[in-house]
Symmetry: C2
Subunit: 465 residues, 2 copies
């Protein structure tokens, strides 16, 4: 494990606040070691820093009460969704109270005629989509994991559908939040657009719980398309696959998904998901539209793929076949881990302008090979975003050092290409040094905003800044 920086603990404050909250919430406040550890960071290579207590509120008013109690005693508050974040977002480096929002899991309203809905933060994306299906609606953002919508908002998540539908920032109309002083605010109305004052909605999206706790989310919805078709196509090199992606985007084909698996990932998928794909770089696509529209998109893509030497192009509109392919894509994390049983998976998350994508992916492959690291690559390549999953033996210090070197090198490369060190995972604890490299003086004003809204630094301290 990589050490996460510990911060000074306010022991007496924590003791007092936890005591008050225990009195108030009874069994809905837990202090057992197992549950505390489960609410610290549990994935990839950052060490676990458990909170002192975990509390399970059922309403916004309860969240406000918890935050007010913690604010009064200057005790850290860490919002917790499902714990699937990858950069140590839910760690408690200064201890404090984890607010587990899983019991705030109601869909409060579906306004079908406005194509929006209002949910509590503990609703997961799969639950929401199950809830919506009968009404012919869906929420498109899909980060892979069955994350909570509150967590997805807090980390500005995206995933496979973002190339067409945008990220969380594009699909939230407004938020309700409990601010660091415990006050409840609503950042906007339900209108589709507004020029009313500072965009607090977008400020809280991606703030990773450092400026407030999201307690309600008004989401934009989409009608389930009349037709959905999938396609896959194999390429001889990652470079030609990326060239095909670039051309597809430049042609303006409104692909709903366009995902890259490099040869190592395809091998992993074949083994794990019982597929029989050619073991060369692969693009997986999905098209949404009318019957003719989706077919037209697939055909145009087929022509582009051919130009770049794409082979085994196969398009399908049957749900079963489509689901099998996408299930395999969603299982890639587990499939890749099987390439090296016992290894930890450490995921990078760079995103570059699409014109630099082929160059960046190829350089990442070469660098991993040079360092002798096993590192399959998958990517939301329509946005220029890809993940190298480093498979690391955490007991091998040399290997860990090489992984660390790789991560830093790739982040620097992406930044030098006018890209970002994080397309969708967020900064958390893990990427703080890179944020400053990437945005320089702009981070001064982030610090100023944080200090203004949370002067005692109680909201998820030690993250982002």
């Amino acid at each position: 494990m990589v050490q996460a920086t510990a911060m000074p603990r306010n022991e007496s404050g924590i003791e007092t606040a936890v005591g008050i909250l225990k009195q108030r919430f009874g069994d809905r406040l837990q202090t057992g070691a197992a549950i505390r550890e489960q609410h610290g960071h549990t994935t990839t290579w950052i060490e676990n820093q458990s909170p002192d207590a975990v509390v399970f509120p059922r309403s916004t008013e309860e969240v406000s009460e918890i935050v007010k109690t913690c604010a009064a005693h200057k005790v850290p508050v860490i919002p917790f969704g499902t714990g699937t974040s990858l950069e140590g977002h839910v760690n408690a480096p200064a201890g404090g109270v984890s607010i587990d929002l899983s019991q705030m899991n109601k869909v409060l309203a579906v306004n079908a005629s406005d194509l929006d809905c209002v949910v509590q933060p503990g609703v997961t994306r799969e639950d929401l989509n199950t809830h919506l299906r009968d009404q012919g609606l869906f929420f498109p953002i899909d980060p892979g994991a069955n994350a909570s919508l509150g967590g997805m908002a807090a980390t500005r998540a995206s995933g496979t559908n973002a190339v067409r539908y945008g990220t969380m920032k594009d699909n939230i109309l407004s938020l309700e939040a409990v601010m660091p002083d415990g006050q409840i605010i609503r950042t906007g109305q339900r209108a589709k657009k507004s020029s009313a004052g500072y965009d607090l909605t977008r400020l809280l999206i991606g703030a990773e719980g450092t400026l407030g706790v999201i307690t309600e989310i008004t989401l934009r919805l989409q009608g389930i398309p009349e037709a959905i078709s999938s396609a896959r196509c194999s390429f001889s090199t990652v470079d030609t696959a990326c060239q095909a992606v670039m051309m597809t985007i430049q042609y303006g084909i409104p692909v709903a998904r366009i995902e890259l698996l490099d040869e190592m990932s395809v091998r992993a998928a074949n083994a794990y998901s019982g597929l029989n794909l050619p073991e060369t770089p692969l693009l997986l696509l999905e098209f949404h539209g009318s019957e003719t529209g989706a077919a037209e998109q697939a055909a145009t893509f087929g022509q582009i793929a051919e130009e770049f030497g794409g082979t085994d192009f196969a398009s399908t509109t049957t749900t079963e076949e489509r689901n099998k392919l996408w299930q395999a894509r969603h299982d890639m994390y587990w499939a890749c881990l099987q390439l090296r049983p016992g290894a930890r998976g450490i995921s990078t998350d760079v995103c570059v302008p699409i014109s630099r994508l082929a160059e960046c992916v190829t350089a990442a492959q070469d660098k991993a090979e040079e360092l002798g690291l096993l590192a399959p690559i998958v990517g939301h390549v329509g946005d220029g975003n890809f993940h190298t999953l480093l498979l690391i033996d955490m007991d091998n210090a040399d290997e860990v050092a090489k992984a660390d070197q790789f991560v830093g090198w790739l982040n620097d490369l992406a930044i030098s290409m006018e890209g970002t060190c994080t397309g969708e995972h967020g900064i958390g604890q893990g990427k703080r040094p890179y944020l400053v490299k990437e945005l320089g003086a702009a981070t001064d004003y982030m610090v100023a905003i944080k200090a203004a809204l949370d002067p005692n630094n109680i909201m998820n301290p030690g993250k982002i800044l």
Copy 2:
């Protein structure tokens, strides 16, 4: 004219700063009455509050120098684009220096393969689209006026194409800005998405120059669609026209534009633009896509329109006919003024969830009639946004009072319908009381952010908050 609140002037600071800047910028700093007045508010009914000087920088460094000088002497800075805003955004209630960005009008880069470009803030949207046309690209946001892109970013502008392409907030990848202390920052990279820290890009978009001066904008571009077709359709009532809009949106037809003109507006358009449209409520539409896609969209809309009693449905793909219709739409402001020569036009800007649109528009018509006000309505109805243009004799105090009553009543109604008092014009000076009605306690945190980033309140003071 309606009085705008004056603020205390820092006379000695202004004198000193203007003196220093005059020394530095020579003829590029102007203090003549005419030019100063032209840089105060010039439209609708808010009185003109001229700045003390107007300076014309040519680079980001020069803007930084100006802001640093003003900051050192606590002198207001008012960024100025083309002066087409409607809510007093460029007024100088405490005097100070207007920074006219019209000489920063270069397109710095067009990255065709990434579908983005980098522009200085003084580039107007028409200039940009002329520049892009040869490369088969366009920038979709169209607020009607040939506004500067810096001004459009600062007010979170949108307009006719927003129903498909979103608003300025959705079409900006990153900004360069001079902050209130004169420091130059870049809010993001050129990657299509990012989870790197607080979204300062979106914070500055719509901040109306109160948090910094935008000096460079990286914009998302679109490929010019293969096919563009227009359609128009007449309805017997505003209610049925709005019902057709609601159904069109709910069907997921990706209309590029869907505009409402009420009967009075159609009459104005016929007279001003030499058209011969039936003088009943009208929808004007535009479809973008492939040849078959655009035709399919138009046909589906035609069926929907028929359901709601739409008549005279006419679809066209000829550029000339299309341009004539849209030119008439863009000229609506002038056309409506001709309904009552000598009157001032006062535009409302409410935006409501689309399910409430028919009700809201109809109520606005009824209320105007009840008050005896001449008030044609046009709207970007696909977003639930419409403008009532009150035609007012400003010398008639009773009429001005009624207009004021109407504006307040409509803003309150929209807010009660979970809508906003401003879909796209911004708060400026004119809508400040409504911002608090609409967002309540959330405005406390806007005040805190403003105080943190601009402790001396020099950036466009008296606006928004």
